[in-house]
């Protein structure tokens, strides 16, 4: 960093600007509507087109570490499904402690939407061996999940009516912060032709663009931005839309910082020559 620039703008001034932007955006709670991009609509349109009463599979493959980005996504999709009177089946391939997390989010969301366990949604316990589990589900659902999370037999759960194997679900959404999304594409879509959508963290969104490009997945919800877009599509203001104003303010602050940095750089160079 050129020396005179360092004297002009010491490092902690940049931190101070970021801190002020953060606190200021916290104080003004503004809801933002974020127009859905085609990538997020790829998931929204598919679920929206399902007739009432049809089942939707959600694989909630994230653990407490990446809850900040993934929980709003799961809540927005659940709200959309229950508003369309769809039956939701939630399972997980990620890790033992991702099902208790999913159960908490689903029961909280169900309470706000009046969804009843058993009729509007069913929970399945964690199953290890991502692709192997999906391949087995493709053969027969009951072989992998004879009973649901609380031990009731599959045949007795109304939400599971008519589900004998994976392809009985017209649509499956994998919300993952781990690479089980690849297993859903390779084992679910490639092998059984299951319609798959992916929800993932902002960092790994770039990994799944090739699948979009080759039509192996119908759509992609990427990070907090994707969740906020889905929330505005479903017109269900949630956690992601609430955080969006802060993200906007900080991102604009950084872009301004970059611009100012460049201006100072060229001024310094011009003054030297």
């Amino acid at each position: 960093m050129s020396v005179e620039l360092k004297k002009l703008i010491p490092r902690w001034a940049v931190f101070f600007v970021v801190a002020v932007a953060l606190v200021w955006s916290l104080l003004i709670p503004r809801k933002s509507d974020f127009p859905g991009t085609s990538v997020v609509k790829g998931v929204y349109d598919r679920i929206d087109a399902l007739p009432a009463g049809s089942p939707v599979l959600i694989s909630s493959d994230f653990d407490p570490g990446s809850e900040a980005e993934m929980e709003p996504m799961l809540r927005a999709v659940l709200a959309h499904c229950w508003r369309k009177k769809l039956r939701v089946v939630v399972m997980t391939l990620c890790s033992p402690n991702s099902m208790p997390l999913a159960r908490r989010i689903v029961t909280e969301a169900a309470a706000t939407h009046g969804a009843v366990e058993g009729t509007d949604y069913a929970l399945m316990n964690f199953k290890a061996g991502a692709s192997a589990a999906i391949l087995a589900l493709g053969q027969s659902w009951a072989q992998v999940y004879p009973v649901d999370l609380n031990g009731t037999k599959i045949s007795e759960i109304p939400a599971m009516k008519g589900i004998t194997k994976l392809t009985d679900f017209p649509y499956a959404l994998c919300i993952a912060s781990v690479n089980t999304a690849d297993s859903w594409v390779l084992a679910g879509n490639a092998r059984y032709g299951l319609n798959v959508g992916i929800g993932c963290t902002a960092v790994s969104a770039t990994d799944y663009y090739p699948y979009l490009n080759s039509k192996q997945i119908t759509g992609l919800i990427g990070g907090l931005a994707g969740a906020a877009q889905y929330e505005s599509l479903v017109k269900e203001p949630g956690d992601a839309s609430a955080k969006m104003p802060t993200q906007s303010v900080i991102h604009v602050t950084i872009v301004l910082l970059i611009v100012i940095g460049n201006i100072l750089h060229f001024v310094a160079k011009w003054r030297k020559s």
Binding site: M1, D33, P210, A225, G261
Partner: protein, 209 residues
């Protein structure tokens, strides 16, 4: 004696390398058990090796305390908290770590690691301010791509005319191409290094005589 110090380790590296490489091609249950057991072996070795780490930590910090190096007080803090944490952990129930250890995890360890992680937010801003300068064509493209993607992800940017389409194109094309090519290079480099280690061409890790 020289064989024990050099030839035997090279033979061990060669054998374990070849066995693990062939395991990928052999579906026989024997090779499955080799893979499954060897992964458990690694965690056991890592645990026993942790005693080496504890030894080094105790040695370096107690050296600072004995020599009264300025700031030795902080080394004392490190050793004391290490001892307290171990005591808190083992005093609990027979089968699992005690309640106090979870308390330490929740209120101390978790908070500090979350804070260090969140400091990244500040550093992303200061690194962007310091490094994104339009000095050359490359750094200008670096700067533009970062700005376009950052704006493309927030509602403010989504309303701007060309930003969302540019962001989508960059993510779909540049990312796929550059990432794939880098992975080709990295894969070839790591396979070359692995082969050099297995066939004993690379023996720096064996150290001196």
């Amino acid at each position: 004696m020289i064989h024990l110090k050099r030839t035997v380790p090279l033979a061990i590296a060669f054998l374990s390398g070849i066995i693990l490489m062939l395991q990928y091609f052999i579906p026989h249950p024997a090779s499955e058990t080799v893979l499954q057991y060897s992964q458990d072996w690694l965690t056991t070795i890592a645990y026993v090796a942790m005693l080496l780490g504890v030894g080094s930590l105790l040695q370096s910090h107690s050296l600072k305390i004995r020599r009264q190096v300025p700031g030795w007080g902080y080394s004392a803090v490190a050793l004391i908290t290490f001892g307290l944490t171990v005591l808190a952990g083992f005093h609990g129930k027979e089968d699992g770590p005690g309640g106090p250890l979870n308390w330490i995890y929740e209120n101390l360890l978790n908070q500090m690691s979350a804070t260090m992680f969140s400091i990244l937010g500040f550093f992303i801003a200061s690194a962007a301010f310091r490094a994104f300068r339009a000095r050359s064509l490359e750094s200008t493209l670096l700067l533009l791509a970062a700005v376009i993607i950052m704006l493309g992800q927030v509602p403010v940017g989504a309303h701007l005319p060309v930003i969302p389409e540019a962001a989508a194109w960059i993510l779909a094309v540049q990312t796929t191409a550059a990432k794939r090519a880098i992975m080709f290079g990295v894969a070839l480099g790591s396979i070359a290094t692995a082969l050099r280690v297995i066939f004993g061409i690379e023996r720096a890790y064996l150290g001196g005589e």
